[in-house]
C-alpha cells in the first residue's frame, strides 16, 4: 500500500467524487459533505488513505460522494463495519457517517459499544430528527409532538440525549456542530479525527423536505458559552441539561484507545507456533 509521498497536497475538491448526490436541493447533508472534504484536506491526508463507512439513509449516501475508499453498508451497522476496517488496518483514517435513525435507532447498540471500545475512529451523525429516506417517520431525536402518518399526534416520547449516551458509554471526544456553518464544522471534524480513540460529532443537518421547520435551526444554534471539559461528571450534567443547540467540543477525554489491532506483520503463513499444543506427548 505504497503512499506516494511526493504527491502534492490534496485540496477539498480532490476529496469529492463525480457522483451526483440524490439529496434534495437545500438538504443539510450537502454542507456536511463540504465540511468533511475541507477537514480531510486541512489534515493533509490523501483520498486513498481515508475510508468513509456508512449505513442506510439519505445521509448514509455520503461515501460515494467522496473520492475516498467507501463502504455503503446496511442499515444500522456502519459502526461495526468501520471498526472492522480500522482494527484490521490501523494505518488508515476511518470516518463513519450516517443519520439519526441509522445511528440511534436500529444502530443504537453499536453506538454504545463503539464508544466503549474506543477504537480510534470518527463518527459523524447527520441528525435531522427524522427518517428522511423512508419519507418522514420519527427518529429517537424527534420532538414528542411532531405529527406524522406513522405516529398520528406525535410519539409522546421525549427525545433522548445522544451526547450523554456517548459520554456514559466512554466516547473520548464529543462535539456538536451545525451543518450551516461548514467552516466551523470542518474544524471540528478535523479535531475529532486527530483526537485519539472514538470521536463522536453530532451535526445538526436540516431535512428541508420532511422537516421544513428545521430551517429555523440557524437562529437557535450557538457556540458553547463555557470552555471544554475533560471531567465526565461535569460534562454529563452539562449535556443532560442543554437544549440541543449548544455547539462546540463538549468533552475531550484521555482514555486509552482500543489496543488489539492487527499487526502489519501478521499476514504470511505462520502457524507452526500454534500447532504444537495438539501433538500428543510432546
Amino acid at each position: 500500500m505504497e503512499s506516494p509521498a511526493t504527491c502534492p497536497a490534496a485540496k477539498a475538491g480532490d476529496f469529492k467524487s463525480d457522483v451526483k448526490p440524490v439529496w434534495c436541493p437545500g438538504c443539510g447533508d450537502y454542507h456536511v459533505l463540504l465540511s468533511l472534504t475541507k477537514a480531510l484536506a486541512a489534515l493533509g491526508l490523501r483520498p486513498e488513505q481515508v475510508v468513509v463507512v456508512s449505513g442506510i439513509g439519505c445521509s448514509s449516501r455520503i461515501p460515494a460522494y467522496t473520492n475516498c475508499y467507501g463502504f455503503h453498508g446496511i442499515h444500522g451497522r456502519a459502526l461495526p463495519l468501520a471498526t472492522g476496517v480500522k482494527v484490521a488496518r490501523p494505518e488508515l483514517t476511518v470516518i463513519c457517517a450516517g443519520g439519526d435513525g441509522d445511528g440511534f435507532s436500529i444502530g443504537g447498540n453499536h453506538f454504545l459499544h463503539a464508544c466503549r471500545r474506543n477504537v480510534d475512529l470518527t463518527y459523524i451523525v447527520m441528525d435531522n430528527e427524522v427518517y428522511g429516506m423512508t419519507k418522514g417517520q420519527p427518529s429517537p431525536t424527534t420532538d414528542p409532538c411532531w405529527d406524522s402518518a406513522l405516529s398520528p399526534g406525535g410519539t409522546g416520547m421525549s427525545p433522548f440525549h445522544p451526547l450523554v449516551i456517548a459520554l456514559a458509554s466512554g466516547a473520548n471526544f464529543i462535539a456538536r456542530a451545525f451543518a450551516g456553518d461548514p467552516n466551523v464544522t470542518a474544524k471540528m471534524i478535523a479535531d475529532a479525527i486527530t483526537h485519539p480513540g472514538f470521536s463522536f460529532v453530532q451535526i445538526l443537518s436540516p431535512c428541508v423536505t420532511f422537516r421544513p421547520d428545521q430551517k429555523g435551526w440557524k437562529d437557535r444554534v450557538r457556540q458553547a458559552p463555557v470552555s471544554e471539559t475533560d471531567d465526565p461528571g461535569r460534562a454529563a450534567r452539562r449535556l443532560m441539561t442543554d437544549d440541543g443547540f449548544v455547539c462546540g467540543v463538549l468533552y475531550r477525554g484521555h482514555r486509552e484507545p482500543y489496543r488489539h489491532m492487527v499487526q502489519t506483520g501478521a499476514r504470511g503463513p505462520a502457524t507452526d507456533l500454534v500447532e504444537t499444543g495438539f501433538r500428543v506427548g510432546s
Partner: protein, 577 residues
C-alpha cells in the same frame, strides 16, 4: 452381526457422575493415555443444563485404527454416582454382556440400562478414594478403566503428571496413588477390556476437538481477523483462536452481538485482512442480513456455524444437522454463496482452510456447517497433512484510471483494490450497482451483476474436494457432516460382508455440482440419504438441485440421539439385498 464387527475393533466405555465428580477430567486423561500409546479414539461429553453440578458423562471409544463415530453400544459403564443419569441413559445403549461398574448405594441405575440385563459389578470406589490421602473417586475410576483397557501404568502416570503439574507435586502423587488403587480394584475383580490393534502404525498422534481443528484450519487458511460473540457449542473455536491469533500479531474482537461480529468481519475483509466468525443457530440467524451484504458487495469471509438442536434456542448442548436450510437458503434476495461441511473432526481443519481459500478466491462468503458432535468431541487422529490452500484474493495493485470495481469478467471475479492504493478508490455497496459500483435500479445492471455473482461460484473448479466418493455398486448412501462417520463405518461393515455400496459424503453443499454428482451416481439405482434431522432437509435439498436415482430412501432422525453404525448397516443392508 454388526455389533460383533464393532466389538472386535474398538472398545466403548462411559464414565458417569454428577457435575462436580470429575468424570469429564478422568475421561480426558484416559483419552490422553490412549493417545500416548498410539491408539485412536473419541471422547464426547454429555452434560446437562447446569453450569456446575448436574449430571454428566464422558463417552469414549478407543480403537487400534482411526474411528469417526461412537460405537453401537457400550462395553462398560462406570458410575461414580447415578444422579439424574436417567436423563441421558438412552444415549448409552448397553448389551447383555456390557459391564456396569458402580459403588453400592450410589443411586438408582437408570431403567433403560437395566433393561439390557448387563453384567453388574460392585466396586468400593468411594471407600477406596476416601482411604487414600487426597484420593478422589474420579482418579480411582481412571485407574480401573486404564487397567481394564490395559493402558500401561507408566503412561497414565505421565499423563497425570502433565495434567496436574500446575497443581503441585502433592496433587500429582495423590492422583497417581488413587489410580494405582483403582488399577488394583480392576485387577482383583479380573476386569479386562483390551483394545485390539490391527497393525502397528507410527504412533505419532494429534489430540484435538473439531472446534480446535476448525480454528487451526482458519489460521492455516490465512485468517487474521476474527470478530465473534460467544455461543455454545462454538465458543471453543473462539477461545482457541483468541490467544493463538494474539501470538501471531492478529486479533479477535469480542463483539456486542452477532450483527456486529459479521459486519466487523466484512469491514476487516474489505480492508484486505481475511476474516472469520463462528457461531451457532441463533447467532447465525442474526448474521443473515450481513451475509447478504457480503454477497452483494462481494466481500469474502467465513462463518462457521457449529450446529446444535433447534429451532430457536433449542438444545444448545446437543448436535443436529438442521441449519442446512438456513445456510443454503436463508438470505433474502438472490444471494449465491458457498456452503461447506466437514465430514469428520480431522476434516474440520481441511474444510475450514479450504473455505477460507474459496471465499477469498471468489470474493464471497463461505459458510462452514460444523456441528456439536464434531466441534465438542475430542479425537485422537493421525497428524493432518499440510495442504496448501491459502487466502489468495485477486487484488489489483496498480489500478488503471477509471477503476471498475464490479467489472464484468469471464469468470465473474473482479479484481479488487485495497484501501490505501492510490487510484483504486471505490465505494462498496449493498445496493444494486453498475460495474463501477454506483447505485443503479436499472434492470440491465441488475441482470449483469446477478449473472456475474452466480457465475463466479458456479463456474469455479472445485476439483475432487466437493465430496468424499468411495466404492461402487448399484446402491449409494448420500450423507454429509458428522453423520458421515457412522455411515462410513456402516458401509465398511457392509463391504466386509461382501456387499457393494457407494458412499457419497458432500463437503461442498452449495453450489450444487450436478455433473460430478451424475458421475458419482452413474449406475446407481437406489440412493439412501442419511441425515440427523426431522424433516429431511438434506433430502429436500438434494431433490431440488440434483437428479436422483429412481429409488430414493431417507434415514433421518433429529438430535440428540445419534445414528449408530450398526443400526445404519442394518437399515441400509436390508435395502441392498
Amino acid at each position: 452381526m454388526t455389533s460383533e464387527t464393532d466389538r472386535h475393533t474398538s472398545v466403548s466405555v462411559a464414565l458417569v457422575g454428577s457435575g462436580g465428580a470429575g468424570v469429564l477430567t478422568a475421561g480426558q486423561l484416559l483419552l490422553q493415555a490412549a493417545a500416548r500409546v498410539g491408539l485412536f479414539g473419541l471422547l464426547t461429553r454429555c452434560v446437562g443444563p447446569q453450569i456446575r453440578g448436574g449430571e454428566s458423562a464422558a463417552l469414549l471409544r478407543l480403537a487400534g485404527a482411526p474411528v469417526h463415530c461412537m460405537g453401537d453400544s457400550f462395553d462398560a459403564v462406570l458410575a461414580l454416582d447415578w444422579n439424574n443419569a436417567e436423563r441421558f441413559a438412552s444415549e448409552i445403549p448397553l448389551r447383555s454382556d456390557s459391564v456396569v461398574i458402580s459403588d453400592a448405594g450410589n443411586g438408582k441405575i437408570p431403567d433403560a440400562m437395566l433393561a439390557a440385563h448387563p453384567v453388574m459389578v460392585e466396586l468400593p470406589i468411594a471407600a477406596t478414594a476416601a482411604a487414600a490421602d487426597g484420593g478422589r473417586g474420579n482418579m480411582v475410576a481412571l485407574g480401573i478403566l486404564s487397567a481394564m483397557l490395559e493402558l500401561p501404568a507408566a503412561t497414565v502416570q505421565a499423563v497425570i503428571a502433565t495434567a496436574l503439574a500446575d497443581k503441585g507435586a502433592a496433587a500429582v502423587s495423590a492422583g497417581v496413588a488413587s489410580v494405582e488403587l483403582g488399577r488394583g480394584l480392576a485387577d482383583q475383580a479380573g476386569l479386562r477390556l483390551p483394545v485390539h490393534r490391527d497393525v502397528e502404525t507410527n504412533p505419532l498422534r494429534w489430540l484435538l476437538t473439531g472446534n480446535e481443528a476448525a480454528g487451526l484450519g482458519a489460521l492455516r487458511g490465512g485468517v487474521r481477523f476474527v470478530a465473534a460473540y460467544p455461543i455454545t457449542p462454538a465458543t471453543e473455536i473462539l477461545e482457541w483462536l483468541a490467544p493463538n491469533l494474539q501470538k501471531i500479531g492478529a486479533t479477535l474482537v469480542q463483539a456486542e452481538d452477532e450483527l456486529a461480529s459479521i459486519n466487523m468481519c466484512i469491514g476487516a475483509s474489505y480492508a484486505g485482512v481475511p476474516a472469520l466468525t463462528a457461531t451457532s443457530g441463533p447467532g447465525f440467524s442474526l448474521m443473515l442480513e450481513g451475509l447478504g451484504l457480503a454477497v452483494a458487495a462481494e466481500v469474502p469471509l467465513v462463518v462457521i456455524d457449529v450446529m446444535r438442536g433447534g429451532p430457536s434456542t433449542g438444545i444448545p448442548t446437543k448436535s443436529e444437522q438442521t441449519d442446512l436450510n438456513a445456510a443454503v437458503y436463508g438470505m433474502h434476495g438472490e444471494a449465491p454463496h458457498l456452503v461447506l461441511a466437514p465430514t469428520s473432526i480431522a476434516d474440520a481443519l481441511f474444510t475450514t482452510q479450504w473455505a477460507v481459500h474459496l471465499a477469498e478466491s471468489m470474493q464471497t462468503p463461505a459458510i462452514v456447517l460444523s456441528d456439536q458432535a464434531i466441534g465438542q468431541t475430542t479425537a485422537i487422529i493421525n497428524p493432518p497433512a499440510n495442504v496448501k490452500f491459502f487466502a489468495e484474493r485477486a487484488v489489483m495493485r496498480l489500478p488503471q484510471t477509471d477503476y471498475t470495481r464490479y467489472a464484468i469478467t469471464a469468470d465473474g471475479v473482479s479484481p479488487v483494490t485495497l484501501p490505501g492504493t492510490p487510484g483504486g478508490q471505490y465505494t462498496a455497496d449493498g445496493l444494486e450497482h453498475s460495474p463501477r459500483g454506483t447505485p443503479s435500479s436499472r434492470g440491465e445492471d441488475h441482470a449483469l451483476q446477478l449473472d456475474k455473482r452466480l457465475r463466479k461460484i458456479a463456474s469455479f473448479n472445485y476439483g475432487v474436494h466437493w465430496a468424499d466418493v468411495e466404492g461402487d455398486g448399484a446402491m449409494a448412501v448420500i450423507t454429509w457432516g458428522s453423520t458421515t462417520g457412522a455411515v462410513r463405518e456402516a458401509v465398511r461393515r457392509l463391504r466386509a460382508t461382501g456387499r457393494s455400496v457407494r458412499l457419497i459424503a458432500l463437503r461442498l453443499l452449495y453450489p450444487a455440482q450436478p455433473r460430478q454428482m451424475a458421475a458419482a451416481l452413474s449406475g446407481v439405482t437406489c440412493a439412501v440419504i442419511v441425515e440427523q434431522s426431522h424433516s429431511g432437509q438434506f433430502h429436500r435439498y438434494l431433490r431440488a438441485h440434483y437428479d436422483l436415482p429412481p429409488e430414493v430412501r431417507l434415514i433421518a432422525r433429529p438430535g440428540p440421539l445419534v445414528l449408530r453404525p450398526g443400526e445404519l448397516a442394518q437399515r441400509i443392508g436390508n435395502r441392498s439385498q
